[in-house]
């Protein structure tokens, strides 16, 4: 976040020495990366048909449905974690601005704890400390590992969303609250029509950064035995047990994460530039 604030703060400074190159790089890079992915896919598929004796590609093709299913598990965990984290984070962020001191202290403690805790430790925490089934009346409901991991990722997500929300609210100049109330806006109207639209705009880029971070955090789920993309890759690698396939499968995993996260990062960058001068 500090990075984005800084770059936007100085974006207005003309630096004629670097502008042409930066403009070129900005356009060329996404294009080249996408081109690279497409070319390697086409090359892979065509060499598959051209050289049916190349067994690595055959194996890769055999395992690709399993890999994609694993990737879906990652996406599912990340989407659910950011959803829970956002809802909880908005509440906590609001409470951080409470006029009650005890509420402020408690929420501040929550935010500090879960922002400073390593994600992996929180994942271990939620996996081993939460029970493996829930007792609801007379029923036992299974509490599967992937949901526990989701909750483990939702904890840092909520703390970060709270901080993003609080920062956004505080970034609106106090004069606007005063001006709006002098125009006879009620407090709810004021919040809904004046503060919130500006906050959402400011929150969106860091929130998307957070989502990309959570998505990358889902790779840690494989360490507690959730059947995700990385876990699938490990199973595939030990099952096939060939050097060239091991190389291929891990770099495919890397590529899949990149293909999912890179567009998010580009879009975040675009939004940051777009909203930088508002």
């Amino acid at each position: 976040m500090a990075d984005s604030v800084q770059s936007s703060a100085y974006a207005g400074e003309p630096s004629p020495l670097q502008l042409p190159q930066r403009g070129w790089a900005r356009l060329a890079l996404p294009g080249a990366l996408i081109l690279g992915v497409v070319v390697s896919l086409i090359a892979g598929l065509s060499s598959l048909t051209a050289f049916p004796q190349a067994p690595v590609l055959g194996y890769l093709l055999t395992w690709s449905p399993a890999l994609l299913l694993g990737m879906l598990a990652n996406i599912q965990i990340s989407v659910l974690a950011i959803a829970i984290g956002t809802l909880a984070g908005l509440v906590i962020g609001g409470l951080q601005l409470s006029s009650l001191r005890v509420v402020r202290v408690l929420t501040h403690g929550y935010v500090q704890t879960f922002r400073n805790a390593p994600m992996l430790i929180l994942i271990y925490f939620s996996t081993y400390v939460f029970p493996f089934e829930l007792h609801l009346g007379t029923h036992y409901v299974a509490f599967p590992d992937w949901i526990k991991v989701t909750l483990g990722l939702a904890l840092p997500a909520s703390a970060n969303v709270a901080e993003i929300f609080r920062g956004a609210i505080l970034s609106i100049p106090a004069a606007q609250w005063e001006a709006a109330s002098s125009l006879a806006f009620r407090r709810t109207q004021l919040f809904r029509w004046i503060i919130l639209p500006q906050c959402l705009r400011r929150m969106l880029p860091p929130w998307m950064n957070l989502y990309a971070g959570i998505t990358m955090g889902t790779a840690l789920a494989s360490l507690v035995g959730v059947h995700d993309l990385l876990d699938t890759a490990q199973i595939a690698s030990t099952t096939v047990n060939r050097v060239d396939f091991t190389v291929a499968i891990y770099f495919t995993t890397l590529l899949l994460f990149f293909v999912y996260c890179y567009p998010i990062s580009r879009f975040t960058h675009y939004l940051e530039r777009k909203y930088a001068f508002i």
Binding site: D3, Q6, Q21, L33, L120, F125, Y250, F251
Partner: protein
């Protein structure tokens, strides 16, 4: 004396339902303490190498030679947009395996899991440092550069003596942020069995089933480490502060 104090604490904690018995078993206590030391070593080594990598990558990012800048940019984007754990596996399970195969005849692979973790996290965080530094380098006013070149500074000396010292000051808050993240990230070392504090804790709680107790210790430990990094950062910020720049 210490032994007595420790056992008193353990007994007192047991009364509130926390089982810290492992601290009284000499071998488990020493492996836990060793884990703490390994995490600190890992953090220090990675902080140093990540900053080095960050400076090199930042210099490459602002290079006039398009292919250098492009290569560095591609590396930074790939590194920033893929999970560290996957990178660690690509390095340790793939590259390390290939190196082991290649060096089989010449007496084995000298690279340990510890070294791989340092390399991977350094390059990963180096990419983040490089982005922060690049923003800092671009924030250096153009007139400063013009003044430097009119004084006969070559491009390289401009970068080293004018842009970087200013860029470091501009980028320091986000560099500190990255370093806090880096310390937290060292926990992934446990995935490839480096004996850091996470790994030792896993070993202990599989024996004793005291996950919560170890979690609390680890959270406290990482809280302390990140606090120290923050403190050092703020000291440095204060030390490097120039009148007229920043608050």
């Amino acid at each position: 004396m210490m032994e007595q104090l420790l056992s008193n604490i353990v007994v007192a904690l047991k009364r509130i339902g926390l089982n810290y018995d492992f601290l009284l078993a000499a071998n488990e206590r020493s492996s836990f303490l060793h884990g703490l030391v390994v995490t600190v070593q890992l953090s220090i080594a990675t902080i140093i190498f990540s900053l080095l990598a960050g400076f090199v990558l930042a210099a490459m990012l602002v290079s006039r030679r398009a292919w250098i800048a492009f290569g560095a940019r591609a590396f930074v984007e790939v590194t920033r947009n893929t999970p560290t754990l996957v990178q660690l596996y690509c390095a340790f399970l793939v590259l390390n395996m290939l190196i082991t195969e290649a060096l089989k005849s010449t007496g084995g692979n000298p690279l340990t899991p510890f070294i791989w973790v340092v390399v991977v996290i350094s390059l990963h965080k180096g990419a983040f440092h490089a982005e922060s530094l690049r923003a800092g380098i671009e924030a250096v006013p153009a007139v400063t550069l013009e003044a430097a070149s009119s004084l006969g500074f070559s491009r390289r000396r401009q970068l080293l003596l004018v842009q970087l010292p200013l860029a470091v000051r501009f980028a320091l808050p986000s560099l500190i942020n990255n370093l806090v993240d880096l310390v937290k990230m060292t926990t992934v070392a446990s995935a490839i069995a480096v004996g850091d504090v996470t790994y030792q804790s896993i070993m202990i709680w599989t024996q004793r089933d005291n996950v919560l107790e170890l979690m609390l210790l680890m959270l406290g430990f990482f809280g302390l480490l990140t606090y120290l990094v923050n403190l050092a950062g703020r000291r440095l910020e204060h030390h490097l502060r120039m009148p007229g720049y920043g608050g």
